[in-house]
């Protein structure tokens, strides 16, 4: 492959099987001697199990629980607080207690209703507000960090300030609604258990299985099936399902399939953390910011899971794209007796950006200044320190991107046009809003160096085809195509001679999880290096193998304790402009136009990038005004897709987008991360547009019709 420009699109590797439906996702797979599993789940939010009474099982049906786990009863994630099967305490409605296995699902569902469990029920914590009140009680605070300017200094500044502006901002749940529900199959073999399914992180699962089964490295194997969407929802959650099917397969000596239906998936799987963010900002008479304190509270749900890392990213983004003098932040993950929250595209950043964009916008309006002019005054520049005393090293193109988007959207004349429209119309009001944002690419801090330690392998076959041997999942984002393209281009080999089979831990080294906008930038760079090495030693007709390991480029070392240093090696950037029309009679918001500029280093494939932009924005915009999930006394209230309300084709409009080139030295062909960035600006831009239409301020997302009607 010899593309003049790597960004030139090529056909996707997995197109044919997907368009014809003949590519087998996990629910399409049937293996010999396969039984189904269903989970007995806790009906209460918090309590102790007193007794379990099982029904009489027909032949071939049985229950599997904690006593059948060969290793510790823990799903290995970060902390050891998540049981595989709860056998003593239950901490949320839906927590798995037992698995029933057998041939027919109908019979399993009947048996499920006949399991009788008695509990000693205790007082649960249901809401984030309750948890904030009780945050000093034992076990409620699951993680916390604090950093920034000395509080005495801030207190002195505040005493001399013209005004102190305090706001409290809330964000709700967001549910992934990947179109393919979670599914996992444990295949029983004499000498190994193979776990196959829908997943983003093969080695997270493999490590969890080695722990649960107390077995050797060669006794478990994890294979990714084509994965029908992930968005973070298949990052850590599948580890628990993998433990369930592997323990069950090991116990009953049959292959066990566990596939959720939609309502089960919506009620028991991880979601984006609801957040409460408090801002306290001192300003002078001209409206200049003198200091800012931000407190972030995340609802972790019942287990710690990945919440501490989500909180880190929320805090690292708490000042947005701005250089704020005398900035201080602290944050908490608090435990509630609700379904555990976890990874979701953006990973803590969408909450923070919604909050800071809202707050800065409100400060500017209080000072009667134009929000965008005000934001631009505080925009970080190359060489500026980050809020953790790291540095923005690379060129920042935000000013150009903003200017370009203002022109593309005809922003200034729209403002005037909408004002006139709103004066003449009582019922319908139009508004336009902006958002400015970034995304730190890759793992936070020293994660790549200390925890992930990625390795990639290229294998050249005798017929001179090259195989990518890495553990990263294509979940729709297109890495089968983009990573193959990087290798084909570096080797100057035809695209169809580069192959990327579904990853299988027996075949591939640990190149890390498919998360954190790291795949293209980190894994892609390793592959580019491996391909160049292979090219240098290429021998036609000979089998060859090349391995590359991650090398950390040391900058200002990250210290998690003091929360200082370079949190990310590089940043991607974005600007969104959104136009809406609000119906003040119904509270309905109609998207009219969406404009977006991004900078992701260098695009590896234009068409795939556009897919990330449109899809990410659709999710991000909907997070701001459409998608609403709630929990009542520990029970998720939206059990179906339409109760929840992700966008349909009628809700989205065509998006005018552009991507700016700004090649990054440590990314393949200059590429940085792109997948999460595109979601982040949606909600704050839609909020700003609704506020502009109604000339009001909101302190929450989603801004649903109910919220709008109440505000009028």
């Amino acid at each position: 492959m010899n593309l003049k420009d790597i960004s030139t699109s090529v056909p996707k590797k997995d197109h044919s099987g997907k368009v014809s439906g003949q590519l087998a996702y996990i629910s399409d797979v049937k293996v010999e001697n396969m039984v189904y599993g269903v989970l007995v789940r806790s009906p209460i939010a918090y309590g102790k199990i007193k007794s379990i009474q099982l029904p009489n099982f027909p032949e071939g049906y049985e229950a599997v629980g904690a006593e059948q786990i060969p290793g510790p009863n823990v799903v290995k994630i970060i902390q050891e607080d998540q049981p595989i099967f709860a056998n003593e305490w239950v901490n949320y409605i839906g927590e798995p207690i037992l698995m029933l296995v057998g041939k027919e699902l109908d019979i399993l569902y009947r048996l499920l209703n006949e399991v009788k469990i008695e509990f000693d029920e205790l007082q649960a914590i249901y809401t984030l507000d309750d948890a904030i009140q009780q945050k000093s009680a034992p076990g409620v605070t699951m993680a916390s960090y604090e950093f920034g300017e000395n509080l005495d200094v801030i207190s002195t500044i505040e005493q001399g300030a013209h005004k102190i502006i305090e706001e409290e901002y809330s964000t709700g749940y967001q549910e992934h609604v990947y179109l393919e529900p979670q599914g996992m199959l444990g295949i029983y073999k004499d000498d190994e258990i193979v776990v196959q399914g829908s997943m983003q992180c093969l080695y997270y699962i493999k490590n969890a299985l080695i722990s649960a089964l107390a077995c050797g490295d060669d006794e478990v194997r994890v294979v990714q099936s084509p994965t029908g969407g992930g968005f973070g929802g298949k990052e850590e959650f599948p580890s628990m399902m993998a433990c369930h099917v592997a323990v069950a397969a090991n116990a009953v000596k049959k292959s066990v399939m566990l596939v959720f239906d939609r309502s089960e998936d919506m009620v028991v799987t991880t979601k984006r953390h609801p957040a409460k963010i408090k801002y306290r900002t001192a300003i002078d008479e001209e409206g200049n910011i003198l200091s800012m304190c931000v407190d972030v509270f995340l609802d972790g749900g019942a287990n710690a899971g990945l919440s501490s890392v989500v909180l880190q990213r929320a805090l690292l983004n708490s000042a947005g794209v701005y250089k704020i003098p005398h900035f201080h932040a602290k944050g908490y993950v608090l435990k509630t007796n609700t379904v555990p929250n976890g990874a979701f595209r953006g990973f803590g950043a969408p909450q923070s950006f919604a909050g800071i964009e809202s707050h800065i916008g409100h400060i500017s309006k209080l000072s009667k200044l134009d929000p965008l002019d005000y934001k631009r005054k505080y925009l970080v520049k190359q060489g500026d320190p980050t809020i953790t005393k790291g540095q923005f090293r690379d060129p920042i193109l935000m000013e150009d991107m903003i200017e370009d988007l203002l022109n593309a959207s005809d922003f200034k004349s729209k403002k005037g046009e909408f004002q006139r429209f709103n004066q003449q119309n009582l019922r319908y009001k139009k508004g336009i809003g902006t958002s400015l944002f970034l995304h730190g690419c890759g793992f936070t801090g020293s994660g790549e160096r200390d925890h992930i330690k990625a390795t990639v392998k290229l294998v050249k076959s005798r017929d001179d085809k090259v195989l990518l041997k890495i553990s990263n999942s294509d979940m729709g984002q297109g890495i089968y195509t983009t990573l193959s393209k990087i290798v084909a281009q570096a080797l100057d080999l035809p695209f169809d001679r580069v192959l990327y089979p579904d990853p299988d831990t027996k075949e591939v080294p640990d190149s890390g999880p498919t998360v954190a906008s790291r795949t293209t930038m980190i894994v892609g760079k390793l592959l580019e290096r491996a391909a160049k090495k292979l090219k240098a030693q290429w021998q036609p007709g000979v089998e060859q193998e090349v391995v590359e390991n991650y090398v950390h480029r040391e900058m200002i070392p990250w210290d998690e304790k003091t929360f200082t240093g370079d949190a990310y090696p590089a940043y991607s950037w974005g600007v969104n402009i959104v136009e809406v029309e609000v119906d003040t009679l119904t509270g309905n918001v109609k998207l009219e136009k969406v404009y977006a500029n991004y900078e992701v280093g260098k695009v590896i494939d234009d068409r795939i990038m556009k897919g990330q932009i449109d899809g990410g924005l659709a999710q991000g915009l909907a997070y701001g005004y459409l998608e609403k999930m709630t929990s009542k006394e520990g029970r998720i209230q939206q059990k179906s897709i339409s109760d929840y309300g992700p966008p349909t084709s009628m809700d989205v409009v065509s998006i005018e987008s552009k991507v700016f080139d700004n090649p990054y030295a440590d990314g393949p062909y200059g590429a940085k991360g792109a997948g999460e960035l595109t979601l982040i600006g949606g909600a704050p831009a839609v909020q700003a547009a609704i506020e502009d239409a109604l000339q009001t301020s909101f302190q929450q997302i989603p801004i649903t019709p109910e919220v709008i009607i109440e505000s009028l």
Partner: protein, 158 residues
Amino acid sequence: MIKFTLNGRLVETDAPPTARLLDLIRDEFTLIGTKEGCGEGECGACSVFVNNHLQNSCLIPIGSIDGTDVITIEGIMESEQFKILDESYSSAGGVQCGYCIPGMVMASAALLSKNPHPSEAEIREGISGNLCRCTGYNMIVDAINLAAKKGDGLWQKK
């Protein structure tokens, strides 16, 4: 015994009349192109044609399909129209995770056979019963628009 035509072939089953058409297609006839996304008729991943009407097969008890003509994605895979849709989805970049796509292709074919020159608004309406979480729909809308143009004259052919 329920008898119907499946992808042009007369078939019969002794599954109970309350069984879902979706399960019958997938389990008994092992046609995997029809996917289950919600089981409640909200996502369109299980779209099939019953007597040439686009339907969610998860909502159809097989008792109601006796004597009908059922077509799944496998039944159109060899057609010229499918070839056009396949190419259009590829060049417009309409496919990401792929799980909604067979249903989306069925909805596209249904729309174009009724309305070979749809406007953007008509395309959006035509696929409004099919949920996609990856693409934000725009590149799917582009794909259908492209297919309408590339396949001009083909769509109303049987």
